[in-house]
Amino acid sequence: MSYEQLMAHAAEIERLAVRGALEQKGFVYDGNGNPHPPMELGPEGATYVMDDTVKQFADVPAMFAPFASMPDPADFGSMRDGLLAAMRELSTGQTPTDPITGLGVEANITLDAMGGVGDTLRDWHGRAAAAFTLGFVEPFPSFTRNQFMLAAILKGAIEAEQEIWTNARANADKIAHDAITALEHMGDCGKNEWTMFFTVGASVAAVAATVVSGGTAVIALTAVGAASQVVAAAAPDDPPRGQFSGETSEAVIGQVREALTRLATEIGRQEQKIATAMGSCRAYVAANRASFVAPRPALADATAGTIRDPLTGLGDR
């Protein structure tokens, strides 16, 4: 893929646009690539036409410039790997698979030790002991499972983001290559037309990720993932398609401008899908904190004076 040469391609597009326009005005290019004006123009007229034509297409590189510095999907790699590591830490026997991609996530067997905590604390009585059992030990599997889901949801969003930029770069590169092809073939006798599939427009897929509430109720959150990786419940969206044509340099460059605008619009749409899903997940977590973390224990506020108290400390009666 030649995305890294996007600006070099843009310069080539500018050159071909100028050449095509001059050829359509009767200029003939020799074997060394030098244009020769038609006799009827005269030297002054020829210079004027050439300067005017060069000026007409001078903004072509600027059209491509914003697309030359799109994020590198690889730059999100360490963030994504960090979230996968978090999922591994939180993976119990109950949730062995990534809900977004369906891939296995190895279980963290140290979490199994939580099951034996109850036995260890059998001789501990009192309000603090009861609160600890009720608020921390018993819901621990649910907390772990739900936090696992959150890590998976975040990872899915990062993977969706990577997919957007992978496709956006490929699409920008294709737009440039198609423009070069169109300008090179414009001089041929047939109709000059081409089709573009904006694969970026099918980058992000919606996926349901479930969390448990109150120990039993199952809540489905709308998460997102990379369309090429999600466990799809339905057929993936067809990428949006554009039909382009142009018989003059001006028309072709106009179509290129339209294609780049369309690309930017589709990027925005896909980003919005991620933002909307993340926004609603965040709102759910904020409103249902108790499903994800234990309440702050009273012991956290104990002092040397209260630590033995049976009601507020570790005391037993």
């Binding site: 290559h177 092809t181 073939h185 001089g187 047939g190 081409w194």
Partner: protein, 157 residues
Amino acid sequence: MRVRVATPDGAIEAELSGRSDVRLSFRPGFYERCTERDLERRLAGVAALLWARRMRAYYEALSEAYGAPVTGEDAAAGPRDVRYRELRAGLVARGRSADGRIAVSVRGMRDWDIRIRDGTLRALDEHAFLAAAGEAAGELIRDQFARIARLKGTVYG
């Protein structure tokens, strides 16, 4: 792009390289047995064959460049397309050898007309004739492209 054709009897081969570099060759002994009128007729047939093969190669190259199959023109999409195609069908392109002995013309890249001045086959050996024919063909192709460029500029500009 490089395309090559041969007449069914193998008497004449033609190759087009790049945009307009045309080279012809004859089966041994063929040139000596020809008349100017024979060659005019046979070369018109070769020209049609070569151009048809060129258009096929052109669409194959276009399909590869766009990454999608392109096999021909879509229907005219408006009055400008209609006008362009009408004018294109009547476009006459010409070429001639430097010595003026061979003149070629084509209308709409379909109706080929080859004129070989009487006495040419006596005056030129096979090698010189083939070079002259290639020259005339190349000039015709360049003339066609130049006229198409101007026509598109006029109709669509």
